[in-house]
Symmetry: C2
């Protein structure tokens, strides 16, 4: 688009964002340069600041600007429970429920052999050290109910269940507010098996 | 997501991109920080560079890093033809056809009263000065065939048609390679009227 190198570089850089193809990148670059140059500069500064400041919590591996995140340092939380999630967004969803007061371990991914993501990439060694440090009594596997999330939960469960820890998994069942007629059969079958 | 201010600011900044909601912004921030910090820094630099370098061509209003863009300066092009398009992406699409060798005027938008975009916002005064500078003989209206693009073409056509310029509009018709059965009726009607 036009004869400007800086614009081409911007479009190429925007394409590195997940889910952004060449048309979207063009539209984004056009919008920023034509209508929101303040936004472009704010985004530039925010990227720089985040890359400089955001690192991983030493204990739970989530994003934080400190050595250990505020959640891990919170003494009012139940340190005997460790909930394993895939991403900070999943952690945030659990936090918003207000129903969990233990600690977390954030894998920052999931096992995915087809994409070349193995145990080392999601810090399983670090998780096992953390789970076996003596304070943890229960490990709650809260990875997603996708094929990869299930496989990840299975691998973690197999590795830890012989070590005297209570291993649990989020319940599968019918979502709150939904009508049976519209729920898929696999979910209903799981809800039947896990009935209480 | 987690307790990091820099990350929240990054997510908010990404939401200023068109078509990016809070979930996409979270996914983008997560991806950049977890898997592509080089990409984040490249994007930060590209934004800064583009905001600093990219301005509007004095003659055709498209994005350029010079005072006047290379297209406008190209003496091999037909300076008697001026093609009016909405965006640099539209200009680029016309260029890729290889079928047009005149010059352009890029509106950088379209008339859209509902969004508060009036004649001043798309530089119509500048377009009229340019069209009437003595070198232009034909103005080709290549705004999009949307309600707003048509209205924009209509306004420009009405303003210039009494000034001795030849005013033309891109032909509407059946797209190349398509089967009549699957073309919408409005398009077929236009193709019939514009038959040659």
């Amino acid at each position: 688009m036009a004869d400007t190198h800086a614009l081409d570089v911007l479009i190429q850089s925007l394409r590195r964002l997940p889910g952004v193809g060449v048309k979207s990148a063009q539209r984004m670059a056009f919008h920023l340069l034509q209508h929101d140059r303040d936004g472009a500069q704010a985004l530039s500064r925010a990227l720089q600041a985040a890359v400089g400041a955001v690192q991983h919590c030493e204990r739970c591996h989530t994003f934080t600007e400190a050595l250990v995140c505020a959640t891990c340092l919170d003494t009012r939380r139940d340190h005997s429970k460790l909930c394993v999630v895939e991403t900070p967004a999943d952690q945030s969803a659990l936090e918003r429920t207000g129903a969990y007061h233990g600690l977390y371990f954030v894998l920052m991914g999931k096992l995915s052999p087809l994409d070349g993501v193995g145990p080392h990439d999601i810090g399983l060694k670090k998780l096992f050290d953390r789970a076996l440090d003596g304070t943890v009594e229960e490990v709650i596997l809260a990875t997603n109910f996708t094929a990869e999330g299930e496989a990840t939960a299975h691998v973690i469960g197999e590795a830890l269940k012989t070590r005297g820890l209570r291993m649990t998994r989020l319940a599968r069942g019918v979502p709150a507010g939904s009508e049976l007629e519209y729920v898929d059969l696999g979910t209903i079958a799981h809800a039947l098996v896990d009935r209480r």
